[in-house]
Amino acid sequence: MASGTQKKGPQGGKGGKKSAVSAARASVVTKKGPPWALIAGITAIVLLAGGVFSYAYFQVSAAQKFIASDDNKDPSEAINGVVKVAYASGQHVQATQRVAYDQSPPFGGPHDGVWADCTGIVYPAPVRNENMVHTLEHGTVWIAYNPDKVQGAELDKLKSKVEGTAYMVMSPYPGLDRPISLQSWGHQLKLDSAEDERIDQFIKSLRANNYQNPEPGGRCDSNQTGFDPANPPPFVAEKPGADAVGMDGKNPGASTAPSASAPASTPAPASTPAAPTTSAAAPSQ
């Protein structure tokens, strides 16, 4: 094909070009003025093409913007205010243990071997963090709210996003520093209003997102686990003690003798997020 064009160039091609050019020139010459028809035609085509471009762009971007795919592994990056921390997965603690989480509410790190039931349950009372974090590992979005600040219609609006919806849970979180906080594994978004459009964007982007959640296909119901959705382990407001499991999954005191004189350093919540480099949730992968 390439050779054909080249051969054609000097002879037939050139001749054809010349004639077309002269025809154009002739029309220009005879009219002696701006070629309005040509300009109008070109303008119309440019506008049409522009219209098609915009239409296509908005169709594609609106439909795909918050949907995870191989080309868009973390759509939440387009949402303002999302905090991301990479956590190592799969570290379990016992029902009697506590984890010194680095975030409040926590959204990753060591957790109880049992996950909080995430079959679209609105928990009326605060639930133990260690169970909630495990449910995030399975791909759940957890809506936490400050019970003193979110009530009435706002609360109902949030409930409507959770009730009966798979891989969604909601619970009050006493002392929450903002009215609403959304958690997905390694992701958090704190908000002031239940009307905020970013709530749906966050859920759309991260719920059961197989690129961001460590255990794609993890289960929600708690039939065999001993977790009772009607009577879940309660949230503990007090800060965890020195015997709590750290964010690295290491336990300073509890596994040996739980003595009160465990090495002084309380697992500092402010210490650099545990094991960020080992996480499987890094979007770059």
């Binding site: 002269s22 020139r25 010459v29 070629p35 471009f53 997965s89 799969g90 399975h138 289960r219």
Partner: protein, 226 residues
Amino acid sequence: MTTPDEPTARSFSSGRSTLVYVAAAVVVLLVGAAAGMLITLATTGSAPETPGADSIDVGFAQDMRVHHLQAITMAGMARDRSEDTEVRQLAFDIESTQLDQSGQLSGWLTAWGQPTLSPPDQPHMRWMAGAHTHSDAAGVDLMPGMATSEELMKLRALKGTEFTVYFLQLMLRHHVGGLEMATYAADHARVGYVRNLAQKIASGQKAEVDLLTTMLKARGAQPLPG
């Protein structure tokens, strides 16, 4: 088409003819691009990512599915029969996660027009260079970490703590093998979502290898030799 006054035209409006050329080129490009974009729009979502029968993607999906199915079988036994709460919980977690992932694998294979299990004339692990297969008593090739039929029969027969410990030992070895397969596929599969799941399986099973090892130790037992 050819006109005799060509030289005049050239001298008259060489600037304008350049404009016409450029405009025509732009128009052609725009129309082409717009048409292309409409076609793309119409076919969005049907990207032709279809790996063939000999691909790493298909081999991994078929073999990992079988590998998962055995873990589901063993975990189901432990979930029903272990008297150890922590082991029952972990077994249920493994069983349900791997059952879902097995469904993802068979869904892909169906969409790719491939058998959801390795065909009989295709040996396991053909897709993975340097794989450590082993054979059972009957000489059947097994994937890395798979329990033999004899081992499964033994697991079925055991009770109490012996059952729980043997389950942990078999599952640990099974995970180590699965980790090897998943790591290879995470590095070498062609399709992005296959590499993603493989990588999640690898990191998840790596974490569970540590967990199973700790749980064995806590019950005064060791991993299986070799």
